[in-house]
Symmetry: C2
Subunit: 204 residues, 2 copies
């Protein structure tokens, strides 16, 4: 099935819907209305109907959406079929926490290689992954790894990003509190933890 281009803001909400729907399915709920889902996820029902309308119009008035179908279509749109390998750069506290983080599997992601520049860490195993020399990032291309996670200090992040892009990586999840300059074809999602916390005071 082909879909129209979906706005970034909708793409951002789809994994949130996916998590909520999965929760309902685990509780054996077969169908859900946009109003019910809205209440549950604290998003407006209008927004939910609009977002799902990009998939084609398959909610039934008075009955709602079939939970299982909606999960299947959402996963398909997000291209979450199969498993993709990702590289992690930085084996400090944050990198170690990420390696131990449950739930990557839900989204078909697996950290298959870890890079660090600390010679005392290189060669060691953490959570089943071997830490390799950061100089070997260039080998990602021949290993076919296109996704990477940056968990290095801010001052090292741009250099790491440049090396990743040169090695053919086109999707980066960036945890460094640093704006990354990359070519337009490369998608960067920056998780700036302080920035997220920075949104909270507005609401309280």
């Amino acid at each position: 099935m082909k879909y129209h281009k979906i706005p970034d803001e909708t793409v951002r909400r789809l994994p949130i819907y996916l998590r909520g729907l999965q929760y309902l399915l685990d509780k054996s709920q077969k169908s859900v209305s946009s109003v019910e889902l809205a209440e549950f996820l604290h998003v407006s029902a209008t927004q939910i109907r609009k977002d799902f309308s990009y998939f084609g119009d398959f909610g039934i008035r008075g009955v709602g959406y079939n939970v299982e179908t909606l999960i299947k279509q959402t996963r398909e749109i997000l291209k979450l079929g199969g498993t993709r390998g990702a590289a992690l750069v930085g084996a400090g506290n944050l990198g170690t926490a990420l390696l131990a983080y449950p739930g990557f599997g839900t989204y078909g992601l697996e950290i298959v290689v870890v890079f660090d520049n600390n010679s005392t860490k290189i060669g060691k195993q953490i959570d089943g992954a071997k830490i390799e020399d950061i100089g070997k990032i260039s080998e990602l291309k021949k290993r076919g790894i296109k996704l990477a996670i940056i968990a290095v200090p801010a001052e090292a992040a741009q250099d790491v990003a440049d090396k990743l892009v040169a090695a053919g990586v086109n999707g980066i999840l960036n945890f460094a509190p640093q704006f990354l300059s990359v070519p337009k074809k490369v998608k960067v999602i920056t998780i700036d933890i302080a920035m997220e916390l920075g949104r909270l005071p507005y609401y309280i």
Copy 2:
């Protein structure tokens, strides 16, 4: 200055603009057009103009926005003046990484207390903060702490959230891969790392 109610999606983008503007100010740039900012932050210029229009109309056609004024107003809207204390629950790898994370200060946030349920950790200091018994969460009310960060395993997160809400916390930054059910007056921002990475395949 009073502002109109601003949509959540705009509030979400304001810290992104703030970071970009701060970067420009650090490079001594005095003014910026929406087109230039759009190019720089990979957001559409129309979106930027629309978001800033909630502040009142102070961009000057052909000249752009004054960088310093825009920073000041954005910080004011986000209520980022002064310093607010936050509690961190969970002193594992992720919690430790968060404590060492630079940049909270930029957003006027300071982790002033850490809670854990591991008796071998309680009483120890990490990064200048003392780890206290999780049973003492109820004391947050009398200490006037309204913000909290949850960095505990998924299965413990709801219980911790309930305790935080009972102790008067009304803003939670949640790192557990777990949907949290809280009263509507409490704002939860969940950072589900896998979920963020789950958006990447769509783009690549």
